[in-house]
Symmetry: D3
Subunit: 246 residues, 6 copies
Amino acid sequence: MIERNAYIGGCDGVSAVSSAELIGEKPLGTMAHSLMICVGDEKKAFKAFNAAVEPEVRRVALVDTFQDEKFGALTAAEALGQKLYAVRLDTPSSRRGDFLKIMREVRWELDTRGFRDVKIFLSGGLDEYDILRYNSYADAYGVGTAISNAPVVDFAFDIVEVEGQPRAKRGKMSGKKQTFRCPECEARILAPFNDTEILCPCGGTGEPLLTQYIENGEIVKDLQSAQDIRRRVMSEIENRTIEPGA
Amino acid sequence: MIERNAYIGGCDGVSAVSSAELIGEKPLGTMAHSLMICVGDEKKAFKAFNAAVEPEVRRVALVDTFQDEKFGALTAAEALGQKLYAVRLDTPSSRRGDFLKIMREVRWELDTRGFRDVKIFLSGGLDEYDILRYNSYADAYGVGTAISNAPVVDFAFDIVEVEGQPRAKRGKMSGKKQTFRCPECEARILAPFNDTEILCPCGGTGEPLLTQYIENGEIVKDLQSAQDIRRRVMSEIENRTIEPGA
Amino acid sequence: MIERNAYIGGCDGVSAVSSAELIGEKPLGTMAHSLMICVGDEKKAFKAFNAAVEPEVRRVALVDTFQDEKFGALTAAEALGQKLYAVRLDTPSSRRGDFLKIMREVRWELDTRGFRDVKIFLSGGLDEYDILRYNSYADAYGVGTAISNAPVVDFAFDIVEVEGQPRAKRGKMSGKKQTFRCPECEARILAPFNDTEILCPCGGTGEPLLTQYIENGEIVKDLQSAQDIRRRVMSEIENRTIEPGA
Amino acid sequence: MIERNAYIGGCDGVSAVSSAELIGEKPLGTMAHSLMICVGDEKKAFKAFNAAVEPEVRRVALVDTFQDEKFGALTAAEALGQKLYAVRLDTPSSRRGDFLKIMREVRWELDTRGFRDVKIFLSGGLDEYDILRYNSYADAYGVGTAISNAPVVDFAFDIVEVEGQPRAKRGKMSGKKQTFRCPECEARILAPFNDTEILCPCGGTGEPLLTQYIENGEIVKDLQSAQDIRRRVMSEIENRTIEPGA
Amino acid sequence: MIERNAYIGGCDGVSAVSSAELIGEKPLGTMAHSLMICVGDEKKAFKAFNAAVEPEVRRVALVDTFQDEKFGALTAAEALGQKLYAVRLDTPSSRRGDFLKIMREVRWELDTRGFRDVKIFLSGGLDEYDILRYNSYADAYGVGTAISNAPVVDFAFDIVEVEGQPRAKRGKMSGKKQTFRCPECEARILAPFNDTEILCPCGGTGEPLLTQYIENGEIVKDLQSAQDIRRRVMSEIENRTIEPGA
Amino acid sequence: MIERNAYIGGCDGVSAVSSAELIGEKPLGTMAHSLMICVGDEKKAFKAFNAAVEPEVRRVALVDTFQDEKFGALTAAEALGQKLYAVRLDTPSSRRGDFLKIMREVRWELDTRGFRDVKIFLSGGLDEYDILRYNSYADAYGVGTAISNAPVVDFAFDIVEVEGQPRAKRGKMSGKKQTFRCPECEARILAPFNDTEILCPCGGTGEPLLTQYIENGEIVKDLQSAQDIRRRVMSEIENRTIEPGA
């Protein structure tokens, strides 16, 4: 479920095979440190990977296992030549004094030797702030922990109406309610359930959000696919300023 | 699992029936706001609860539904008299300006009218710092959200030895390892796997912590009960200062 | 004097009878907690007030004595119906966890039952920052303590001229002085007393502010009324940006 | 009243003649800047003061009017010789870069020339923190503004009992009350009015503080003199740690 | 060297005779405190300076030796009349409570007596932030300590190429390099040494900055004069926003 | 002079040949990165150094040029075996994410392979706070920049006496002075020049610090050697709490 939500929220893909099946996409990933450790030599490991893996998979070399990233990137370039698509820096945090400067060196050394098209991938303990910081050098990111948990959202079930009469405890608003979404500005507006039309302060007309999915125990409406939900999320992020409703 | 861990970590009990079964204890709890809302009157609700519930259950009246806590507590005292064991304040956060002062008033009004033995229970959005703050008036706490999540603990599987030789990537210490616990000071000490005796800086002799539970697919050692683990945790908390090992 | 100054500074009215006489206005106010406490029941107290007070006085019900504000407001609506002009929330600080949320609930419950015209008044420990914060729900404010004191303004009498010659101690500017006010930008400009015309940096021509009120022991000029001073203060606040003069 | 309170709170004396009468002490003070400004020369002014004022008044020379304090102190020493009791530094804040350093220089220059017994008095915008800071050089302080105002203390009259029954609004504790003072630790303890004996947590026995001063319109008990109150205040400050009561 | 750098960086002149020779300018300066202390009286000292120094030197009176600046400035005006060009305030830090207010007083007292053309010079422990703060009253500044030291700039010599092949340690970029300056936006751009043309992001074309001054042990290009360097520095400061290059 | 002062202040030695001569000690140092870069391979460079340098020089291998420190240390151990005295980590700041963790790994890997006696030296941008932080793993430090500059100490020459009479400007204490040092507590005490005995507040008797080194143009007293000064500095640091004198 974590990987499905990450995908819906805008990630390009997931690496676990069963997660990929769930969302209907192909799994994506690069080589692991264990390959280098078992082979014992980075150059040999890059060549072994290249010999064994099907040609349509892009060659992304993991360059921080035994060597400094700058020399690891040069080793990958020597081993794979023009087949090298990207280098991945999973630099341990104890060696990450100025990650931007490490990337800049890797970029410079690759460029100096003619590998201007090789991309730089980052992974390891990255969050949304790191990504903003590293965008001037990095071309892609592998994010794990920062996306795999979230603050708890407190919620409660409350009785707000008894036999048609509004009744609620202190701290709760009484009566059955509807939430409207304004299609113009994405605002959410709370209103009594029987209000049928809500005018948004922005001028738009609110559309009710509560929808019946189950009737008499039967599912009466299809759920959206992960792709459709993701598309809507991306469109909301790109096209609108979403304000918290009333 | 959350409730099992809460119990192991020192909570007195849990309210979900299946969780209680899992840990081998009886479930515990008090009345809900929905009782008051359905009945529509706090006094009647307290009396109905008293009439319906078996006598060995302690009468803990929830006193914040419709009334201010101070008057709610007096209503409970009038309704249940000497049977009243405790009042529970689940005060909504919007009314929690100075919770300690509200408790002090409840305590004063109960005392003034002779209910010195009635206890005060708190619930609702409490964490460990609140508990320290409210201990001078509160006798028990119901804690939910603050205990139901935790920061993610990052971990990774790493190859550290290949065919008996230590080998590890940058940022990891090579070789198979053992962790020792010092029985004197509870320190944890990391050492190469073949070290058989470790002297703790405090003077104690470390005991190895890695234990084999499965051999050839067979479970060869019993798991501890929740009660036993809880007992050990409580004893470690009470008797020792635990320092992070090397 | 405090109430006169509050009125001059822009307050709508005062509640003490003698203060009102001093400034030439009618006193304003609402009911007190003592009414509810002596009657012992909020609904009865609202009805007694309504029966006893002359009809031209607006019915403003104090709704926080025994009940939560949300239920107090509903009680006032039931007791006074369409005669209810406003509810006053003097919520004790110990119950003021999120005052804005309490007001929002009161507003919602009144609206849901058709009392959209009933206003919300606030009182109790409010200052100018609270007012900015609560304006989205509150219609009027009763302010006491925050307006009844002020930081001490240090001042000193200094000799700055002896027999027509400028002479002053270290730290003081010598010579008799005039203060001019620029009618364009309200700046105050300090100048030697004999300067008769001062050009303000904004382009306006300064007008001298020192005026003789007493001559040979006789008052030779009328003092302004509180109403006139208030009008000038309000006009300065509304129309201009006042900068400290040189 | 301000000066009476300052005296009660521990000040040595007051300068206004009517205030001194009110508290039954002689007024105290030194010369003013206006003397120097009218005379136009510090040395002449010191000599004129010396010639005119009765011999039992101590000669305290104000040394910051026209000159730097260091040279002003030397001028006073030259003018008054062994009659000089103290110099007063009322240094304007614009010249008070490092007041301690100015005092140190004044002390050094006086000492170098044999005036080791001349004291240093400070005045001008001093508060309790300044006094702690300047104690290593200053021998006395004249304090005005810092002592002439205080934060407003909010209080309210509340009905807490109706016809012998405890009844109070939300946020107030019901019932008539007595305050006890513990003679051992000065703690104040609040209790129901009919409690006749209160044991303080420190072990002492509380003494009731409410005392009847008026009976049937007659004053039946003498008020304490300012001297007596001051003595008690000084003794409480010196001998005890006063904790806020319950 | 310090004074040469200060001049190059924009100072108007220097006071040490040999520094002035080095940069090819006349030395500048005002009178010293020692003059006043030896003469023992500020007025006599100002007159002696006026009598002794050649007429083309501007009369700048140092006014803080024995007197408060306000009275010192008046003494200078009395002694030198219309010959007084400026007063210099070297106020000791222990008397510098509010330097701006001291200047304002000096300005006021001079103006009141008709000395509107006399300028105010400041000196003593000033830095660039003080200058921004004092500009509304001060006409010139004497700066010493703040300009005579700077944070250490760390640098290192590194081998980056061996026999024509780029080779550098971790943390350094390999290969011989050229730095270009963009004449449009003053950006500095680092590039491999053989790059002959660099396009700046602003659209300008970078010009190489490395220039040969010594060939076969002979100086083959003249060094710029201090005046020329200063002119270029001032022009860069005035006309452009300089951003750090890549 | 910088290196002489560093030595006097407690450093063990200096690396520049002429500095070492000045202080009368042998220069100390380790290999440079240029050796590795010219040889092009760390192992070969370590062996070349070992072959070329006289046997009494301790073998300190610089292990951060091309490799990660952990593997560099293992390379040094392989190349030099039991001759290896220490490894030096001059880790570039861009790779210094958690320097303590890097040292811990180096220590672990060396220990695991039996090199428990090999020491760890640190260098590169270290200051006194780093040294406190790294002491648990590091055995020696090479410090440069942090010791090569200091904040400017402002000072001024002032006339304080004219023809035997004390006279000084505002802000300075007049008269010729002596400084005494208390041999008990190292306090410095300022006093008029003719005071011959000063009692320190600690009870000690102050000794005058001003000493004549030149008389009639002749040096009449020997200067102390760097060794002697260093010995006194170390002794003052170790044995006493030095307070700033009056």
